[in-house]
């Protein structure tokens, strides 16, 4: 069986590789444009996937409301930037304040959602918390729809088109560059937070065993709250940047983006920070190449096919730990 898998894998890779190289050599510029597009798309997924994977890593909960936190971040930035723009403030100040407010509001929502919807269910079966998460997601969507508008709102990009970059803007725009750079920075900062700080150590301890962690004096509730706040902050940054890239938002943007980011997190190995980024990039780039060389109609189908294939060979994702069940 194992041999069969290997032979199948080699054969498929060989065939794809042969046609792939032929296509790439025929038009290398096109290939790199698709690759860069995929990189941007992957970075977009990654900014959202990081929050998913952090929360899952600590309390093994799929926080379905995460996409909505991302949407709230974008909405807050839109409101702040519109109001400040009307007051005629300096655009650099607007950008900073829009980010600050977006992060603040998203964190507040993330913190509150955890306290209301997940904390009371911490000892309940996992399914209850999952349903609670879906309920929270629907609630937030409808709340924003009623409080704001069901229609699309134009989102004027907060990131200017850098002049020095103009000659290359047809290859990759300033916003796309900012997104890729931010993803890398956020990933590194999160890595440092988890590896080298006191709270990071507490997070890792909580992830391993909540009861044991509390026995050695870690305030588990505080650690979990912090995780939600940090995750929400990354979602808010993602929300603002992606809205700048897309140019419009509505109450529903969190759903599709959240779904794709979730797939990416599972693909990379849910619970792993580098895994979320790697999974997002694999998903983004393969979607982009598939659209470019095959049919965009089946882009989503292809995303799920990749997910299924990778989970068959590596059930815990690309960088996921192979956990043996503890007795």
């Amino acid at each position: 069986m194992r041999l069969f898998n290997i032979i199948l894998g080699v054969a498929v890779t060989g065939i794809l590789g042969f046609f792939g190289i032929k296509e790439v050599l025929a038009d290398p510029a096109y290939f790199f444009a698709l690759l860069l597009g995929g990189l941007t798309r992957g970075s977009i997924y990654a900014l959202i996937a990081l929050g998913y994977t952090m929360v899952y890593g600590i309390i093994e909960l799929i926080n379905f409301a995460h996409g909505e936190i991302y949407m709230i971040g974008a909405m807050t930035a839109l409101i702040v930037s519109t109001v400040l723009g009307l007051w005629g403030w300096n655009s650099a100040v607007i950008v900073i304040l829009a980010f600050v407010f977006a992060i603040f509001y998203s964190c507040a929502y993330g913190f509150t959602v955890e306290k209301i919807a997940y904390k009371p269910l911490r000892t309940a079966p996992r399914l209850s918390a999952l349903i609670s998460a879906i309920g929270m997601s629907l609630f937030l969507q409808n709340y924003v729809m009623l409080a704001q508008t069901p229609g699309f709102l134009p989102f004027e990009s907060l990131i200017p088109d850098f002049e020095f970059w103009e000659p290359f803007a047809d290859i990759i725009t300033s916003v796309e560059m900012t997104i890729i750079a931010t993803t890398v920075i956020v990933m590194i900062l999160l890595g440092i937070l988890i590896k080298f700080t006191r709270i990071g150590k507490a997070m890792r301890a909580t992830a391993q065993d909540q009861i044991m962690a509390s026995l050695v004096g870690i305030n588990v509730n505080r650690v979990i709250s912090t995780t939600f706040v940090v995750g929400s902050a990354t979602a808010a940054i993602g929300g603002v940047l992606i809205a700048c890239h897309v140019g419009q938002i509505n109450f529903y943007i969190g759903f599709l983006a959240g779904l794709k980011a979730f797939i990416a997190a599972v693909l990379g190995g849910i619970g792993s920070i580098p895994g979320a980024v790697l999974g997002s990039l694999v998903l983004g780039i393969s979607e982009s190449l598939f659209t470019g060389y095959f049919w965009s109609e089946y882009e989503d189908v292809f995303a799920f096919v990749i997910l299924v294939i990778i989970l068959i060979f590596r059930p815990s994702g690309i960088l996921g730990r192979n956990e043996t069940s503890k007795v």
């Binding site: 597009g37 699309f152 140019g247």
Partner: protein, 372 residues
């Protein structure tokens, strides 16, 4: 020989029998048929009301050819088999011209009866392509655009006005968007001379469309046609501009409106779209809306204005022809234009309305401006 005369006499008798009603009586009878009960009733009712108000106006001015107009109303419940019965009844009751039906299936079924009886039919609502384009219904006219009218207009504009050699057709995989692009593909096939270099569907609401934009760039399409709504369209338009793809963006009525312009912002300028003709500033349109509100206490329904125009067209043709003769009236319908609440309309050689329906617009300085 004797039997030949017998047959001839019989035939003549039958002929007289058929044509007798049109000479008899001192009123002119217009048959109105459509769906007036059931789920789709609002459509038929709006059309009946249009005819009623038009006939009131007509009678107030002295009717057609000096005779008052009388209405015969039939309900086909949007079922072709019922429509045939309704048609037979209208003909035997002496209807001299028909406004109807509403559902295309009913119109197709019923028109066999009307055609044999030599009656002119004019529909305010049936949009099926085959009714006029097949050329099998010479007695049939309509005051509404046919299903393919928009695709037809788009494709001929792309070929003749934008002089495109290569087009990319992109849609959102939905019934409306994909259907529109499939029609466009069909019409390009008929037109010839334009190569379709790309036919693709995209995922609506996706965070990033750069792959499809690169694909459009690689295809070197002169014009990118879009079947879908304004939200996805504005994302693609913005990205096309940012990536400096030299292609003209052209959408259907799904992107016609201020919502698209607001979303696309500075990237929207230069985009083409087809949209329904502007009629709300038409004085007759305003007057009729008020009349309808006064009589029925609500705003006019979907086909109200089209139905009003049907009666206007028939009355005008009869006056111009000077009689109710089929051939003369038919010629008069083709030859004359009328000022109706849906614009100044006439009919093309197929019996399709000209002057109402769709126009091409372009975004110029943040506003849609009519260009054709």
């Amino acid at each position: 020989m004797k039997s030949f005369f017998k047959t001839l006499a019989l035939a003549l008798l039958i002929l007289i029998g058929f044509t007798a009603p049109s000479f008899a009586g001192d009123t002119i009878k217009i048959g109105v048929a459509g769906v007036i009960s059931g789920d789709l009733a609002p459509y038929g009712i709006s059309s009946v009301r249009g005819v009623e108000i038009a006939v009131d106006d007509l009678n107030a001015k002295g009717g057609i050819l000096g005779k008052k107009v009388e209405l015969l109303i039939g309900d086909d419940v949007c079922k072709p088999e019922v429509a045939v019965n309704v048609a037979t009844k209208l003909v035997s009751d002496g209807a001299q011209m028909i406004v109807g039906h509403v559902c295309s299936g009913c119109t197709i079924a019923a028109n066999k009866i009307y055609k044999d009886a030599g009656l002119l039919v004019i529909s305010p609502a049936s949009t099926n392509n085959d009714l006029t384009l097949k050329g099998e219904q010479p007695n049939f006219f309509r005051t509404i655009s046919y299903d393919g009218a928009q695709a037809d207009l788009m494709t001929s504009f792309v070929k003749n006005n934008l002089h495109a050699k290569k087009v990319a057709l992109i849609h959102d995989k939905g019934d409306y968007g994909k259907g529109q692009m499939e029609l466009a593909r069909k019409y390009f096939g008929k037109l010839g001379g334009v190569e379709i270099v790309l036919f693709e569907g995209i995922t609506t609401g996706a965070v990033d469309f750069s792959a499809i934009v690169q694909k459009i760039k690689r295809s070197k399409a002169d014009v990118t046609m879009w079947g879908g709504y304004h939200s996805d369209a504005s994302k693609i338009v913005a990205l096309l501009k940012k990536k400096r793809v030299k292609t003209t963006f052209f959408g259907g009525d799904g992107i016609y409106g201020s919502e698209f312009v607001a979303l696309a912002g500075k990237y929207g300028d230069g985009v083409y779209a087809t949209g329904p003709n502007e009629t709300s500033s038409n004085p007759l349109h305003i007057a009729l809306t008020k009349k309808h509100q006064k009589k029925y206490n609500e705003d006019p329904g979907t086909f109200f204005f089209n139905a009003y125009a049907c009666v206007q067209a028939l009355a005008n043709a009869a006056e111009k022809a000077g009689s109710l003769d089929y051939t003369k009236m038919r010629a008069a319908l083709f030859a004359n234009k009328i000022d109706s609440p849906i614009g100044r309309i006439g009919f093309d050689k197929n019996g399709d309305v000209v002057g109402a329906g769709f126009s091409v617009y372009q975004v110029q300085n943040g506003k849609y401006v009519q260009v054709n």
